[in-house]
């Protein structure tokens, strides 16, 4: 069982032998799983120090599909971040020859969690004097470095020591930012995003999470625990986050004031880390409580409900896209935006969308794009919505990873549609023009253009959604079934691991499935001509197989010059249909003999050059045609010979009488001469 498989297994203790070592120091003990520290798809196990047996650590063994926040990990390893668990080392750990995982080792949180669901509420003083300073010390440091934590929640606070004095914020490095956060912890800007699509966010998002954390700890239960994500979002929009989340709670004035500052729905008005750290001074000027979304001067009827809030309307439109399209097309939305919302720019844009929608009624994708654009205009700060997916601007990569991890067909389909339309590019350009901050938030435009181009050839190997996955997640390991669980990050590693797998399976396996192809072509340059050949020849054909072999021969020369017996065995299997194309038994035997000889070198290029299979195929075809012509001629002659008996008879008669005549004349002359000589002489 590989480590990747174990990650999916429930916690169980076993007595395995000592595990491998990370960075020459941290021994990873897979037999000691720490279920309490687990969140998401990663596995948490105990780690020990080979230099100090008393030291204890925990190690997060990353799932191959998990996003690893490298910038944050780098900041954490470069310097100690106060108030946050220390990341001591991270890197690849080899559990067996092909079982390799990315592991991050942290200081052990010996005192356990600060709060568990169902525990009694914490004292106000504990929250304000212990929790808040700890969290703020961490955030102040991170925010100064331009980083966000995105994992501030009640379940992610731990005591570092057995005596439960030193409080620390848990790690948020080994999973996609915000992915483990309960919905209520997310501000309006990312609340409706898919958990994997919440993105790095802004420092203001962390501050908001601190506000919800305070409410969670003080209330002793997850705020709005009985509401769905949709209901929480709508309530926050209607009442403002502060009012929505504190409803029914008895809070002191100072806590209310702090919460009013940190739960402001407008990120610009929300307190920053510095203000929150010095909350006592800040509450001198009583902070204004948020009142939810702005209200228009009039209401609009949509699906039997009246809306005056554009964001609520936008949200409702995402739930009923067909009705939303009607609202756009019948012009009521434009009227409302112009008259009630008094947003001329948005009205003009919606008018353009309305005109375009009317001109292309039959295109379903265009209809969805029209609703997306309208929703974005009504809620420019909200998540990007498209059909079944909603994500924050920069979080398309982790979302794609999730879709592949769960093999979510619907999501993949929606993302395919989105990436092959130019909608993302259009929106990103528009938003980048409008705001520089937005430009930073978005996935780089070059990546979007590349993805758009890859999706044009989505059916071809080396392109499509898989290629976009590696384009948008450049640090993601290869997710090909052949090397999954071996944390392959580049072509050289791919060849190395695939070689081992192919040796163990005696050449059975496909080192060029869609994932492998996308991964290889995204990491290695100059493979376009091979991709063109793949596109021109259907999988399973001999040309396709030959191009595969050529591609790996090139990769071997460039990335892994050593012998590859496993790939040679695979080549032997792959080459079978090509050899079957050679019709001459003798030639086939010769080529096979040459292959067996060249195979010993373990060099694919040498085998290709030795067997010269392409020339052999051409020669074979030519010779086959010649043989066919020869056989045809022979057939014709045989048929003639078989059917010409009568003709032969006639010819024999003619020739026979000629011979008889010659003999007769000869005997006559002879008779005359002999008689003359005898009787006259």
């Amino acid at each position: 069982m590989t480590v990747a498989e174990k990650i999916d297994k429930p916690t169980e203790s076993s007595t395995a032998s000592a595990g491998p070592v990370l960075a020459g120091r941290f021994r990873i003990d897979l037999s000691r799983r720490l279920g309490d520290l687990e969140s998401g798809a990663n596995m948490v196990v105990q780690a020990t120090d080979v230099q100090d047996s008393s030291a204890k650590y925990f190690a997060v063994v990353s799932n191959p599909y998990s996003s690893f926040r490298r910038a944050m990990a780098q900041a954490m390893t470069e310097s100690h971040i106060p108030g946050m668990v220390d990341l001591l080392a991270h890197g690849k750990v080899q559990f067996s020859e092909t079982d390799i995982c990315y592991v991050s080792v942290f200081d052990m949180l010996r005192g356990g969690g600060l709060y568990r669901e169902g525990d009694a509420p914490l004292e106000e003083n504990t929250v304000l004097d212990l929790v808040l300073p700890t969290v703020m010390a961490c955030l102040q440091n991170l925010h100064k470095s331009g980083l966000t934590h995105r994992g501030i929640r009640a379940g992610n606070l731990f005591f570092a020591d057995d005596s439960r004095i030193e409080l620390l914020l848990g790690e948020a490095v080994t999973a996609a930012p915000g992915s483990a956060q309960p919905d209520v912890y997310e501000p309006l800007q990312s609340a409706m995003a898919h958990p994997m699509g919440r993105g790095n966010g802004t420092p203001a998002d962390d501050i908001y999470a601190v506000g919800v954390l305070m409410l969670h700890l003080l209330g002793g239960r997850l705020p709005a625990a009985d509401l769905s994500a949709d209901e929480i979002y709508m309530k926050k929009l209607e009442l403002g986050s502060f009012a929505a989340l504190t409803e029914g709670m008895i809070l002191s004035t100072r806590v209310s004031d702090v919460l009013a500052g940190v739960l402001q729905d407008d990120p610009k008005r929300r307190w920053d880390a510095e203000t929150l750290l010095h909350w006592r001074e800040a509450i001198g000027e009583t902070p204004r409580r948020g009142r939810g979304d702005r209200h228009a001067f009039g209401k609009i009827l949509f699906q039997s409900e009246e809306y005056s809030s554009p964001r609520l309307l936008a949200h409702a439109m995402t739930r009923k896209p067909k009705a939303a399209l009607e609202l756009i097309e019948n012009g009521k939305l434009v009227k409302w935006v112009k008259g009630a919302l008094r947003d001329e720019d948005a009205a003009t844009r919606i008018e353009q969308i309305q005109a375009s929608a009317a001109s292309s009624r039959s295109d379903k994708r265009f209809d969805t794009a029209a609703v997306t654009q309208a929703v974005r205009l009504l809620d420019p700060d909200g998540v990007f919505w498209y059909r079944d997916v909603a994500f924050c601007r920069g979080a398309l990569g982790p979302l794609l990873l999730w879709a592949f991890q769960n093999d979510d067909t619907e999501m993949k389909k929606a993302l395919t549609d989105l990436l092959e339309s130019s909608l993302l590019q259009t929106v990103s350009i528009e938003e980048a023009r409008a705001s520089k901050d937005r430009h930073v938030e978005w996935v780089p435009e070059s990546a979007l253009i590349s993805c758009y181009n890859y999706m044009k050839q989505k059916r071809d190997v080396g392109y499509g959604l898989e290629r976009c996955l590696y384009e948008l997640n450049p640090k993601s390991p290869c997710l090909s079934p052949l090397v999954l669980g071996s944390h392959v990050r580049n072509v050289s590693e791919f060849i190395e691991i695939a070689e081992k797998k192919l040796i163990s399976s005696n050449g059975q396996g496909n080192p060029f499935d869609r994932h492998a192809a996308a991964f290889i072509t995204s990491k290695a340059k100059g493979l376009d001509k091979y991709l063109r050949m793949f596109a021109a020849n259907a999988p399973g054909t001999s040309v396709h197989a030959l191009v595969q072999i050529k591609l790996f021969a090139k990769l071997q020369a460039v990335a892994h010059p050593g012998p590859l017996p496993g790939f040679c065995r695979w080549m032997e299997e792959t080459q079978k249909p090509i050899l079957l194309k050679i019709r001459s038994r003798l030639r086939r035997e010769v080529v096979n003999q040459k292959f067996q000889e060249a195979k010993k070198s373990g060099n694919l290029a040498a085998i290709l050059s030795e067997t010269d299979i392409e020339r052999q195929l051409i020669e074979d075809t030519r010779e086959y045609e010649n043989a066919l012509a020869t056989a045809g001629e022979a057939e014709r002659v045989a048929a003639y010979l078989e059917g010409a008996s009568e003709q032969r008879k006639q010819e024999a008669a003619l020739y026979g009488s000629w011979i008889t005549s010659v003999l007769a004349i000869t005997s006559l002359v002879t008779s005359m001469v002999v008689s003359a000589l005898y009787f006259l002489g």
Binding site: R648, G656, I659, A664, L668
Partner: protein
């Protein structure tokens, strides 16, 4: 058009042949007439010895080659007998004496017999030789085909059939 031309050629050839035959017959009759007048015993032996050729001529088998061979062989057998007649003095007495000799008849008719035998046997031998040659060629072609099938496999047979079908 081509058929008409062939017919015309054949009739032209037949006309040419008839003219030749007529000239030959003319000279044969002239010479026979002169022979009967000047050398009657010789003519007697000659006419008696050439009976098989006259029979062949009368049967008109449309095999001019055989007839010519018959005439030549028959004549070749008669000439020595005439030589003997002339040696003995060319008289009717000697002519009848010769005609009563069975060996003389054997010599004269033997030539015609050889002609008949050769006219029957030589075409048969030639045909047999042709047949043997054809069978050898067919065996060689079959061997070549087997070799090709062995070299190029089962697909070759069907492809070959396809090619033959197209050629037809």
């Amino acid at each position: 058009m081509a058929k008409n031309a062939d017919k015309a050629n054949k009739s032209a050839k037949a006309a040419g042949g008839n003219v030749g035959q007529n000239i030959a017959l003319f000279w044969v009759l002239i010479l026979s007439g002169l022979g009967i007048v000047f050398i009657p015993p010789t003519m007697l032996v000659l006419i008696a010895g050439m009976i098989p050729s006259f029979v062949a001529l009368l049967l008109n088998t449309d095999r001019s080659g055989s007839l010519a061979a018959m005439l030549a062989f028959n004549l070749a057998g008669v000439i020595p007998v005439i030589g003997i007649l002339w040696e003995r003095g060319q008289t009717f007495h000697e002519a009848f004496k010769i005609l009563s000799d069975v060996y003389m008849w054997l010599a004269m008719l033997g030539g015609a017999g050889v002609a008949l035998f050769l006219a029957w046997a030589v075409p048969v031998i030639v045909f047999s030789t042709y047949e043997l040659q054809a069978r050898a060629s067919l065996a060689k072609l079959n061997k070549q085909r087997t070799k090709l099938v062995e070299e190029w496999g089962g697909q070759f047979v069907s492809d070959m059939k396809e090619v033959s079908r197209r050629q037809r």
